[in-house]
Amino acid sequence: MLEIEDLTCTYGSVVAASQVCLSVKAGEILALVGSNGAGKTSTIMATMGHVRITGGSIMLDGVDVTRLGPRHRARLGMAVVPEGRRLFADMTVDENLTVGGYTRTKPAARQARERAYALFPRLAERRRQIAGSMSGGEQQMLAIGRALMVSPKVLLIDELSLGLMPKIIDLCMETIVRLKREGIAIVLVEQNTDRALEVADAVVVLASGRVVKAGTPEMIRADDTFFQTYIGLDGGQAVRNQVEANVEQRSS
């Protein structure tokens, strides 16, 4: 469904991603993991077309989208749940979904909206609420719902769990597993590596903008030294602790 070959992108003289190759099929979750600054977000944003690439190719469902802008990629079935949600904060939940379904016909958009509300009933309860005034968890639900309005073949998710309570993380993870079963190809960038490996079918590990390992979650976990070197000294526990500490601090 999504084939990326030798993707390279730079910010000035800094190479953010270099010759990244990855492939994800329909009904599969690919976890893109690595430490801070590994090039995960740059890869996602370049795949969506927001970062200009200096080399490589991107194929979406057999169509070469390398030279197309984000709006054309959206029309071909690519959607993004960006880091930090980046909702249209001054607009209501309903209006955010309307923009999400901008490329769809009105009946298709209506159907997609009902589906988003069925997936996240809390959004339906708050459909007239301004997006910027909702909690982090509700905003993440809306970001996923907005992306689903595209009826995506490929869904790019950047930092699904960042700053969320464990209960909300569980709900979001359950949702993406459900979406995978419906046949959507998902690329999941996640700092919480343990959670990412739980749901992933395949894993690509990035370090300094390069792919240093690719395989199944079991293969990545089995290589303990590699896991500790490239992902975290204690298998992502430090990151998880940090996130949970942040959440607790906010709720107190």
Binding site: M48, G49, H50, G69, P70, R71, A74, R75, A79, V80, P82, R86, L87, F88, A89, D90, M91, E95, N96, T98, V99, G100, G101, Y102, T103, K106, R146, M149, V150
Partner: protein, 289 residues
């Protein structure tokens, strides 16, 4: 009753200012460019309105012609002047805009003459109607009704249409809007088209009220609308509307109570200075852009 009449007069002028200020604030909200040359689009609307009315004898043709000319001019200004400069520091398009205003005003002077041109027939100039004991000029009433109707139609478009939602999304977060298939370029053209249409409409209304169009008629309007969008908060649509009506009313009362020392047109400048000194973020919170 006298005070009510002053307030009504103020609201009528304020509604015209709103037409101009909304266009200016829309463009600032999306591009962060102070479109000073908006005043030249206003003047163009006035000229096309007068010329078309004189040629056809019909205001029903003059209004659409003026609006169309203003829309085309606005789009051309965006395409030829601002679009190539958007990657430059904000001062560059601002200077280009000031230069364009001077250029276009001189162009009007060269083409149409320094004295301006008048309507051959304008039977509405001295007509008045009495509403609730208040005597109001027909043209002033038309200006108020036209402004309110246009601004209401625009508000409905923004609030209830899918294109309006995409447009607001682009104001708030252009990059994410493109992720959902919205064309930022099309939204920018739409923005200039709508803002310029309002300016063209205001141009004809003011030309009708003054009974003529002249090359420098946009100059005072340009600094007044600048004062309004600063008053309302740069980029805020609600602020622009509130600022317009407020300035109209302040001017109306100021003309009477400050008549000894301050000219009507200087009141906007005083408001601008006062706002910059005491509340530089404007009176209303920014709601879009």
């Amino acid at each position: 009753m006298y005070y009510v009449e002053l307030a009504v007069q103020g609201l009528i002028y304020g509604s015209m200012y709103a037409l101009m200020a909304l266009g200016l604030t829309l463009i600032y909200g999306l591009l962060r460019v102070l479109h000073i040359a908006h005043a030249a689009v206003f003047t163009l609307g006035a000229y096309v309105g007068v010329i078309t009315a004189n040629a056809t004898g019909s205001l029903w043709i003059a209004f659409p012609a003026a609006i169309l000319a203003a829309v085309l001019a606005g789009i051309a200004i965006y395409r030829l002047v601002y679009a190539p400069l958007l990657d430059r520091p904000p001062l560059v398009p601002l200077i280009a805009s000031v230069g364009l205003l001077i250029l276009l005003e001189d162009l009007f002077r060269i083409v149409f003459g320094n004295q301006g041109i008048a309507f051959n027939e304008n039977p509405y100039v001295y007509m008045t109607v009495t509403i609730g004991g208040l005597s109001i000029g027909v043209l002033q009433l038309a200006m108020f009704v036209g402004s309110v109707a246009s601004l209401s139609a625009f508000a409905a478009f923004v609030a209830f249409s899918r294109t309006g939602a995409a447009w607001r999304a682009t104001l708030g977060n252009p990059q994410m809007a493109t992720s959902f298939g919205v064309s930022v370029a099309q939204v920018r053209y739409l923005n200039f088209a709508i803002g310029s249409a309002f300016a063209g409409l205001a141009g004809v209304l003011i030309a009708l009220l003054n009974n003529y169009a002249e090359p420098g008629m946009g100059t005072i309007v340009s600094y007044k609308t600048l004062a309004i969008i600063v008053l309302g908060g740069l980029g805020s649509m609600r602020g622009a509307l509130i600022g317009s009506l407020l300035l109209g009313v302040i001017e109306s009362y100021g003309t009477v109570y400050l008549s000894g020392g301050v000219d009507r047109d200087a009141i906007a400048a005083l408001c601008l200075i006062a706002i910059l000194m005491f509340r530089p973020e404007g009176l209303a919170k920014r709601i879009a852009a």
